[in-house]
Symmetry: C2
Subunit: 331 residues, 2 copies
């Protein structure tokens, strides 16, 4: 770990050394870490920053904040077909954040490092007069040339998503507006499910290998299905059509939307799904679906890419839907 | 680059795509970058975060902030004997920071990326209600097993520093207390020199190879010579003695200290030198010195490691000096 004096060193030692077990982390006692990249592989690198009050609620449990910071980065690795090698962590700590909260945060990092095979290699811990800020760099590996791109979708292929869409966006909306009719229709257990999906993304590392073998293009859904798909189509120079009624919904999301159809827009355009959105040639579709099923994740074809440009989302009658916002933006 | 909607995408495109020329950066249009590590090499990884008002002055020129953020990380690579491969950058932008300042910041990153061969590979740009915060992850490479450690100094070796010590600490003190007698004794040009050394660290990448060949242990001096050396001695399980009058000072630092001897403590314990502190066996000393001279950096033996523990800094009479603070700490 980096700059700072002996007070910082002691805090780092207490909090983070126990979870930095990778030999290259050198017990966080050096200025840098070392890491071997497996022969025949290249690195995949991603770095996402999260700010209290912007990307998470300052009052969220610190272990949940840690998990979210780990998982939004690991989700990028998964969508690129990469296997995790490790993470670097920088945190900026506000004055009001005490040692107990930091301990809980560190344990959240450590638990996920073990769970996902992404050891803590190093980083930095600094003070800030501002909000708690977390920056994670995740390092992964793919066979050379194997990284799955966002820009390589072709026309005439299937648009596929893993898991279910909208649970996290509904979990956020539930926190912001708990009295909406769609949420009043849910059981306590169903509300907890949505809240948990917002707090604890699940990086889809189990299908990284299948993406490398079968996907023409992929990205993770972090800013909302409609907006992220639109981005991928633009980046690839193709058009796309999605059938809204084919978008996979959890039973809970389905119940909320049945009680309040307007929540469908939250599901389709809200952020934080952290599912994988892939464009897959028909010849690979069955094999990818089988791999996704075997991984316990599941994958659903929701539409097709086409020649041209633009994204159309159609309802069950074939009418084109329009959304107040294309995707979630922090700007 | 990571999360965020189309407003962010456009700002990233405008600011950072032009400086992300490495093929693995994919024009910052994907969720991740890829990077090859040269055959027979392993990665060296470091990540330092800087917060406005803590690690730099919010009113510093944005290009200087960018350079400092790049260089404190590249300095870690240099001290570990690593050659830069690239950087990832995350910034959290406060509301009052306008596009012009961001443009100047991006150009500072781009200039240093070219100057030091450390291309921008990717990262994230988010909003914060707090101070401007910069987190950089620097990736470098060493031949496998070649990273120079902090923990491997042995007794009976030379303690060496590159360049000159204390200029940056005096530059900081000059900003905080410009009326001190030591500074009133300086010319305008001398004051500018000190101010520049605080703003613009110079990572000593030119001696990375010589460190790998000759150094028993090394680290960069970021938190003050005395404190950082003490840390290295503890980490290595040896003692050390330094002759204060052998510590290399610039003519400007020497003039300020001559006019106000108390400033010597700032020089020896203040932060931000970003020189390399190395412990070198006598048989390697001449070769290392020659390499440092050839690199235009210079290196000076300031003391010796000993059996035992602790650091003693002696003045010209042999008396042990004591300092009000061992090193600079942000905590």
């Amino acid at each position: 770990m980096g700059a700072g004096g002996s007070g910082e060193d002691q805090l780092i030692a207490r909090l983070f050394e126990p979870i930095a077990r990778h030999p290259g982390a050198l017990g966080l006692k050096d200025d840098a870490a070392f890491l071997d990249v497996p022969a025949g592989h290249q690195l995949v690198l991603t770095k996402d920053a999260l700010v209290a009050g912007v990307h998470f609620f300052a009052e969220d449990p610190p272990a949940s904040i840690a998990r979210k910071a780990m998982r939004v980065n690991l989700s990028d690795l998964a969508a690129k077909g990469a296997e995790p090698l490790g993470v670097l962590l920088a945190i900026a700590i506000p004055p009001e954040m005490g040692v107990e909260a930091l301990e809980a945060f560190a344990s959240g990092i450590g638990d996920d490092a073990l769970l996902f095979g992404a050891p803590l290699l190093g980083g930095d811990m600094v003070r800030t007069p501002g909000p708690f800020t977390v920056s994670i760099t995740a390092l992964g590996a793919v066979p050379v040339g194997g990284m799955v791109r966002r820009t390589t979708a072709e026309a005439g292929q299937a648009i596929v998503v893993t898991g279910t869409i909208g649970d996290a966006a509904l979990g956020l909306e539930l926190r912001l507006n708990p009295e909406r009719p769609g949420f009043r229709a849910l059981s306590e257990e169903q509300r907890s499910f949505l809240a948990d999906r917002y707090l604890n993304p699940r990086p889809r590392l189990g299908i990284a290998g299948a993406l490398r073998m079968h996907a023409g293009a992929a990205m993770d859904v972090s800013d909302g299905l409609a907006g992220d798909l639109a981005k991928m189509l633009v980046a690839s120079g193709v058009a796309g059509e999605v059938q809204a009624d084919r978008v996979p919904l959890s039973p809970t999301a389905r119940a909320a939307i049945a009680a309040e159809p307007a929540l469908m827009e939250n599901a389709l355009t809200g952020g934080d799904d952290y599912e994988v959105l892939a464009v897959i040639a028909d010849v690979h579709l069955d094999a990818f679906g089988a791999a996704a099923t075997a991984a316990g994740i599941g994958a659903t074809e929701i539409g097709r890419t086409l020649e041209g440009e633009g994204l159309v989302v159609r309802d069950a009658t074939g009418a084109a839907l329009s959304f107040a916002r294309g995707s979630f933006s922090h700007f």
